[in-house]
């Protein structure tokens, strides 16, 4: 069983080939596995197809670093600061490269991943009828409900090659507890061919079994477990650490131009060997964000 417990470096090296489709940032604003995104950049992954609803600045960093050829997403920006500069440069100027975007809404990305998780070919919906998103997405199809005769939109399943979720704790087999909102994390973890769990803490199986309703995915569906404390900074993890709002705002200011983006990626990603070094670099700032509540678990 312990063979699943691997380093972040090995997880990316062994399980994420160039050209993979990868769902990441699936809890929306919280629990975004930035450590994983940064390791993808350090290992110079390319031609990735990113899948996710909101992603905050994780998608912006991967796009700016040139790792991405496609994105299926509902929103790519910087939630508390504004637009995503690297995404803008890619779309407006083709810098560092052009990417293909399949527009979604949060509901359709959730339905596409749920269909993947169900082994269903598609899910029918009433959302987005009359929106320009279906045409821009290119994969949806308008149809007539055979039961009611009404218009519906069919959202085809998304089956990611890889889904990465971050959780408060998991055991060595990948049985994973996530609390706080789940967003589309469970659907994405169940839909994927390969599911990777990043855990703030590795716990005994008995801790998981003491509260199985908190389990977002069972170990039997998990290919690899990475013990990576602080994996989600600057996004928050409920009862573990708060959101570092200033970090998002500083990133926004620092990456307005391409040179600033490259400096930022150098400082916080490529010149940093691993997450432990990143947290040391944050120093007192990191300590101040931490919380460890046991009230709910």
């Amino acid at each position: 069983m312990t063979a699943k417990l691997v380093s972040l470096r090995d997880a990316v090296d062994r399980l994420v080939p160039d050209g993979a489709s990868i769902a990441i940032g699936c809890a929306l604003e919280p629990a975004i596995p930035f450590a994983f995104a940064h390791e993808l950049i350090r290992q110079r992954r390319s031609e990735l197809h990113l899948i996710g609803p909101i992603s905050d600045i994780a998608f912006d960093q991967l796009i700016g670093a040139g790792c991405v050829s496609q994105a299926s997403a509902a929103w790519i920006g910087n939630v508390s600061a504004g637009l995503a500069h690297a995404y803008r440069r890619a779309m407006e100027e083709g810098v560092p490269r052009r990417i293909e975007v399949h527009d979604h809404s949060n509901f359709t990305i959730a339905q596409a991943l749920l269909a993947g998780a169900l082994g269903a070919p598609y899910l029918p919906t009433k959302t987005l009828l009359g929106s320009d998103i279906p045409q821009a997405n290119g994969t949806f199809r308008e149809a007539i409900d055979p039961f009611s005769g009404e218009k519906i939109l069919l959202i085809p399943a998304i089956v990611p090659d890889v889904t990465v979720i971050a959780v408060q704790r998991a055991d060595e087999d990948g049985n994973a507890h996530l609390w706080g909102p789940w967003g589309v994390s469970q659907e994405a973890a169940l839909a994927a061919k390969t599911t990777i769990v990043l855990a703030e803490e590795i716990v005994d199986r008995a801790v998981i079994a003491s509260d199985p309703n908190r389990t977002i995915v069972a170990g039997t569906k998990v290919a690899a477990v990475v013990h990576e404390p602080g994996a989600c900074h600057p996004s928050p993890v409920q009862d573990r650490y708060r959101r570092d709002h200033d970090f998002f705002h500083e990133y926004h200011a620092a990456t307005r131009d391409r040179q600033g983006f490259e400096r930022w990626i150098g400082e916080w990603v490529t010149d940093v060997p691993d997450r432990a070094a990143y947290l040391r670099k944050l120093g007192a700032r990191w300590t101040a964000l931490r919380e460890h509540r046991t009230s709910v678990a």
Partner: protein, 245 residues
């Protein structure tokens, strides 16, 4: 804008809150006229009490502390699709006279002049909530005759467009801007009131469509001292309320 937005939340309603200013509008409504309103947050949070401190995003830890339900996005979107959600808030970069919103791209979609973030859950709220409450800065470049891309459908080209498109209900009920308040009548925006700092003439000048006014167009009712106190106590540094984008 926040005070006007809060007034749109009715007592006891289920409301999709959304990002930025609506986060504060929900707090104001809860603490004044709508103590039993329920806030739904699309990442999977349901609250019957406002968060105890200023939220920068709906995923901040304080928005989970004291929540009555942590769920999945699909659970809350399901409530929305079923017709269980009375009202929802969204903002936008561009809007037209029929309340169609663009948050996707200015210019051509594949080679945009300005790439915007996209729908998030906005297009779902616009498609499926009973009432849509739109909040945005008033600017001629934003209130346009026609938007470049319809991310979130309003009333399309007017008339029974939503029904023909297959949408089950809803549409914008109000557009609240930095200058005034528009109501939607037969699928088109009609100026209901102008804020104390503005005027009908100034709004006409700053709007990209010919502005129709209500017969009793008037000055917007100013926020009460109590509402101002709540807003300033909740966002003392003005992170959201003084922001101009």
């Amino acid at each position: 804008m926040v005070a006007c937005a809060a007034r749109e939340i009715r007592e006891g309603e289920r409301v999709f809150v959304g990002m930025r200013l609506p986060l504060i509008a929900f707090v104001v409504a809860k603490r004044t006229h709508a103590p039993n309103a329920i806030g739904l947050f699309e990442l999977g949070v349901v609250r019957d009490q406002p968060a105890s401190e200023l939220l920068y995003t709906m995923g901040d830890n304080p928005n989970v502390a004291g929540a009555v339900w942590c769920a999945r996005t699909i659970d809350l979107m399901g409530l929305l699709q079923r017709g269980d959600v009375h009202a929802g808030f969204i903002g936008g970069a561009e809007i037209d006279v029929h309340g169609n919103l663009n948050t996707t791209a200015i210019g051509e979609r594949t080679h945009p002049r300005v790439q915007l973030p996209g729908s998030g859950g906005g297009a779902d709220i616009a498609s499926l909530a009973h009432r849509l409450i739109v909040i945005m800065p008033h600017d001629k470049r934003r209130l346009r005759e026609k938007v470049d891309f319809v991310t979130s459908p309003g009333y399309g080209t007017g008339g029974d467009w939503r029904k023909r498109a297959g949408l089950p209900r809803g549409g914008p009920s109000v557009l609240i801007t930095t200058l005034g308040v528009f109501r939607f009548v037969d699928g088109a925006a009609v100026l209901e009131s102008y804020h104390a700092s503005a005027s009908v003439a100034r709004i006409r000048d700053a709007t990209g469509w010919p502005v129709a006014t209500a017969a009793n167009v008037r000055e917007t009712e100013p926020p009460s001292a109590e509402v101002l106190r709540i807003i300033r106590a909740y966002d003392p540094a003005g992170f959201w309320t003084r922001r101009v984008e």
